[in-house]
Symmetry: C2
């Protein structure tokens, strides 16, 4: 039985993976604007059209020439002859001197008109209109290009498209938009003992269902990645190498799950030996849980080796894989909500190792009490169902004192 | 030209819609556990299996009978004969008196053994094992059911499934899970003047592209709804009624966009007149922008009538539709991050009306300055691209004073 030669700190592990993954190059992808929600703009968007595309009424009322109502007032109304109606989308009208057009919000201002008298400031009898108040040139008119001018830089490269951005892009008549492609990530479980939940053997009490890979797949889809599912592979060096080689061709990043510990059959770090363009960069991180994580390059592609135990795999994913993916995709990580709480008991930790403590929160006067969840192994997924939050204890600490105030990250998702 | 008879307050509008929509009944849906990320549990989950399913090694070492190493120490080691190796998934071994089995983390404890001596506390020579320290009964063993016991309530009805919950459900061998179905929401734009972005006419400067419906569709998909797209329909009472009738059959909730103002062609509230099981409940809310919003029932289905102008529609969606959907689906609304800021100038508002102010944020010493974005109409989508946040001015105010401290909701999505 072997041991980890050296543990890499979480911060250094992240830095190494970040640097290696910065070589990943993503092309561009053109998508329909209506399908672009949540995607990352691959280039600046410059408006090719004015919004509004023409002068239009900002209120309901009557389109007139403003100079002809210059001195209009209650006692001295300006008189016009109504020659038609302008409604949104109904085509442009025209007025001559002394004429007015009934107009509705959004309709194009008739040629010859330069203002809209509000309906509340007019009197009408048949086709005769009395305007009771003067209105300035372009009064109650939304000017052409007032919202967005042709040539305006509307949205910047790297912007993550929100629901209203889709409206904005359509308003400047963009049918398609250039976005960063989704990152393709391949996921593979290793372990001759594992079965898929869909396998009939999964109902035997003696079988071990693969739970970590489906969890990591769910996390990757939350991170906005496209998945290449490599399934489960036996603990066999050649089988693992074959599968990894085909996954490395298909995906930008490869993740293996399991086989990273230092037990008898833990082969994953070994598979890199002697393979072209492949090397192990670190194996073992100073995290508890999460220690048996590795990272390297396989046939030129970044390879994250996550431990098989779900909570350990989760720590590796959250601390290293997720920030790397966010940096590559440009999609922000949603920060967890944080609260301060008093820790309910003394918790010893190992200096030099980052500890991830699952806690239940209880109301405690005005504040919260954080109760560490008793744990006997990193396999214990139920600790996450029972936990309300996570306390991260830094490498500089030797433990938490009872009653100490800690920051708790709420486990929202 | 008509006016709104009465404006309903935002709070009352929400209350009315909430009450009416509480009649919507959602059935259950069975989905594959691996596809259940983000779904809402329709029933409590009770474990039918133990996790771990059997006693297993929590460390690498040697499985023994603890009583046979009762007084073991450096100077007085207990001696065993190694009779085999136990690895995860390799089937259960058996030991007799004086025997030990080499065992790896996760492997089933052999029959006859009740503890694991850690590899660090043993010496081995060929098949002879010297255990240098006593180990208690079940020492270094993860007991059957220690993580989850058969019969345990693991997750509760209404719980929104996170990535690790998928792992938990699979660990208790659940292939499928009963969840609330997605809410089916139909969306329809009205307006003879509107064209789809895919329509060749969309490139004419005089055409009006439908931007609000794609925005609302994006918002609905963010709210976890299934969409029924009703397209664009002309300003014709009978055409609108026909389309609404078929949408009301297909969907649980119907949303119309446009035609809610009080201009000449604003027909939507009228379509409910004289139709069976249909009534207008309110029309016009005390919001700026967002006033021309309506709500009613069409052939028994809740009908939200949003204004055509995108920013108005967005206010109606956020203030009324979104909370109703969250309440029906059980999916939480992600609260926007909030910051305090000083408002840069006086902003007059109308008492009794809730104002939604878009602001740009600037650093200002230790804090932020919120600069209201100059607006001339509720059509101005670009105000949202320029805005960093939203300030909501309550109905009890007559405006904001220059320099007043306000709460700004950051427009993250």
């Amino acid at each position: 039985m072997r041991g980890f030669r050296k543990l890499t700190s979480v911060a250094e592990a992240l830095q190494i993976a970040m640097k290696e993954c910065s070589k990943v190059e993503l092309a561009r992808e053109i998508v329909r604007t209506e399908d672009a929600l949540g995607r990352v703009l691959a280039e600046d968007v410059v408006a090719q059209h004015n919004v509004p595309p023409y002068d239009r009424a900002a209120v309901d009322g009557y389109a007139i020439r403003s100079e002809e109502a210059f001195s209009a007032s209650q006692s001295n109304p300006a008189i016009f002859r109504i020659v038609g109606v302008a409604e949104a989308g109904a085509g442009r009208k025209r007025i001559g001197s002394g004429e007015a057009v009934e107009i509705y919000t959004g309709a194009a201002l008739p040629d010859g008109a330069d203002a809209v008298a509000m309906v509340e400031e007019c009197e009408r009898e048949g086709n005769e209109l009395r305007v009771l108040r003067s209105v300035p040139k372009y009064g109650n008119v939304s000017r052409c290009g007032e919202d967005i001018k042709r040539g305006d830089a509307v949205l910047r490269k790297g912007h993550v498209l929100k629901a209203w951005d889709i409206g904005i892009l359509l308003s400047i008549r963009m049918r398609e938009v250039s976005v960063s492609p989704r990152l393709k990530v391949a996921v593979l479980s290793t372990g001759s003992e594992l079965v898929e939940i869909s396998d009939p053997r999964a109902l035997d009490e003696d079988s071990l269902v693969d739970t970590t890979r489906p969890m990591i797949k769910a996390l990757l889809s939350q991170s906005g990645c496209d998945l290449v599912d490599g399934g489960i592979i036996n603990d066999d060096l050649e089988e693992i190498r074959d599968r990894l080689s085909s996954l490395a061709e298909e995906a930008e990043i490869v993740i293996t799950i399991g086989g990273t510990s230092v037990g008898g059959k833990d082969l994953v770090p070994e598979v890199l030996d002697g393979v072209q363009d492949s090397r192990l960069i670190f194996h073992g991180i100073a995290a508890k849980p999460g220690k048996p994580m590795g990272f390297g390059v396989y046939r030129g592609k970044p390879l994250f080796m996550l431990p098989g135990y779900p909570v350990s795999a989760l720590v590796g994913y959250e601390s290293v894989v997720k920030p790397v993916i966010a940096s590559l995709t440009g999609l922000p990580i949603r920060e967890r909500q944080k609260v301060k709480a008093r820790i309910s008991r003394r918790v010893p930790t190992t200096p030099g190792v980052r500890h991830f403590l699952r806690v239940a929160l209880e109301r405690d006067g005005d504040g919260f009490l954080a109760k560490p969840i008793a744990l006997t192994g990193s396999g214990l997924l139920s600790s996450l169902a029972k936990a309300d939050g996570l306390v991260i204890v830094g490498e500089d600490r030797e433990g938490l004192e009872e009653g100490e105030i800690v920051e708790v990250e709420i486990l929202g998702d």
